[in-house]
């Protein structure tokens, strides 16, 4: 498949949060301020690419040739959890600047279903390594776009006069609904099918 289509498809048309419903926990949990959203997005981009590579290699070099595809779920989740811990350790030791920027978001990523979802989808779509990488980058950028846009809206919601029972989550959901409605407009953009 056309690389540009994979990138745009993952970025806009099938936006991971607003269209696929993956990664909602960080979407609602972290999107209260633009600053934290940017940090989270950077961490997701970083881990998602690493996870895509590692899981792709594991699946095609180890699980598939050995006939162990049924271990996919177990292996992927353990590897991603391990990967996140390892990255955290390396950053802490050798890249203090990056660690102080991304550090607090890393543990939250292990339970982010967007990461695991992307690794499963790359296999279901039978992507090669380049396609899987582009898919991961596009997805992470889509995640960033959605969460940062949404954080900007939520910052304004803080001061809006909202009925007490709708404060917080309920109004955030309704807001997400409107953002998602806008993204529905990207359906069939450039004839992308994914």
């Amino acid at each position: 498949m056309n690389p540009a289509k994979i990138l745009m498809g993952a970025f806009l048309v099938n936006n991971i949060i607003l269209m696929r419903f993956l990664g909602l926990c960080p979407f609602f949990g972290v999107s209260t301020a633009v600053e934290t959203s940017v940090g989270m997005s950077a961490a997701v981009l970083f881990v998602m690419m690493l996870a895509a590579w590692v899981s792709w290699l594991l699946y095609h070099v180890l699980l598939l040739p050995l006939g162990l595809v049924f271990l996919r779920t177990a292996v992927f989740i353990l590897v991603i959890a391990g990967l996140v811990q390892f990255v955290e350790m390396v950053l802490k030791r050798y890249m203090r600047g990056l660690y102080s920027a991304l550090g607090i978001y890393l543990p939250l990523i292990t339970t982010n279903c967007a990461i695991l979802g992307v690794t499963f989808l790359s296999i279901d779509y039978q992507f090669n390594l380049l396609q899987a990488t582009l898919f991961a980058v596009g997805t992470a950028l889509g995640f960033a776009l959605a969460i940062i846009l949404f954080a900007a809206i939520r910052e304004r919601l803080e001061d809006a006069p909202i009925s007490p029972s709708f404060k917080g989550y309920p109004i955030a959901f309704v807001g997400a609904s409107l953002v998602s409605l806008a993204f529905l407009g990207f359906t069939s953009l450039f004839g992308i099918s994914l």
């Binding site: 049924f70 271990l71 177990a74 004839g191 099918s193």
Partner: protein, 177 residues
């Protein structure tokens, strides 16, 4: 004892082994069922558009089949495309007779379209419009063709129509051989 270093390692390894053995059992039981089901579903979906055929021989893996009668003569081809609809790819199966006319079309069960709307693409009145048409006639009326779109589901209708058209242009060369 429970918290000794050795037991820590052993317990982890044991869990992994038990899990792997259990899963390999589940896999070996379910795999044949899954494969059979896929093969049967495929055959059924192909016969639906060319019921006269007795056998289907694969020409290109997963996309084109030669439809043969009981004597082994080709009476047409069946091809499969996956254009994008509203909710994801829609599998469209097209049967062509030896003159290149459509015998029937089928919409795959994987359709994740709006239930009740996009799903109307599977209803007979929509699919029957394609019967006997040639490539040049296959387009929605609003795109200067002959097919009535499903009301309020233009994207799905157009996806199906495009899929049919694409299947014909891409694979009808098999008919001339």
């Amino acid at each position: 004892m429970v918290n000794s270093k050795a037991w820590m390692v052993i317990s982890l390894v044991l869990t992994c082994i038990i899990a792997a053995v259990a899963l390999s059992q589940v896999y070996s039981i379910t795999r044949p069922v899954i494969d059979d089901q896929a093969a049967e579903a495929l055959k059924a979906s192909l016969s639906e558009v060319l019921p006269e055929a007795a056998e289907f021989a694969e020409l290109e893996p997963g996309t084109v089949w030669s439809a043969d009668d009981a004597a082994g003569n080709r009476i047409g081809i069946v091809c499969k495309t996956s254009p994008r609809g509203y909710g994801g790819p829609v599998t469209v199966i097209v049967g062509l007779d030896t003159t290149g006319r459509i015998t029937a079309i089928g919409i795959g069960a994987n359709i994740r379209e709006t239930p009740g709307l996009g799903l109307k693409a599977r209803e007979a009145w929509f699919r029957d419009q394609f019967r006997g048409k040639t490539e040049s006639e296959v387009a929605l009326k609003r795109d200067n063709g002959t097919i009535d779109a499903i009301s309020a589901a233009t994207i799905t209708s157009r996806a199906v129509t495009d899929g049919v058209k694409q299947a014909i242009t891409q694979y009808s060369h098999y008919l001339s051989r």
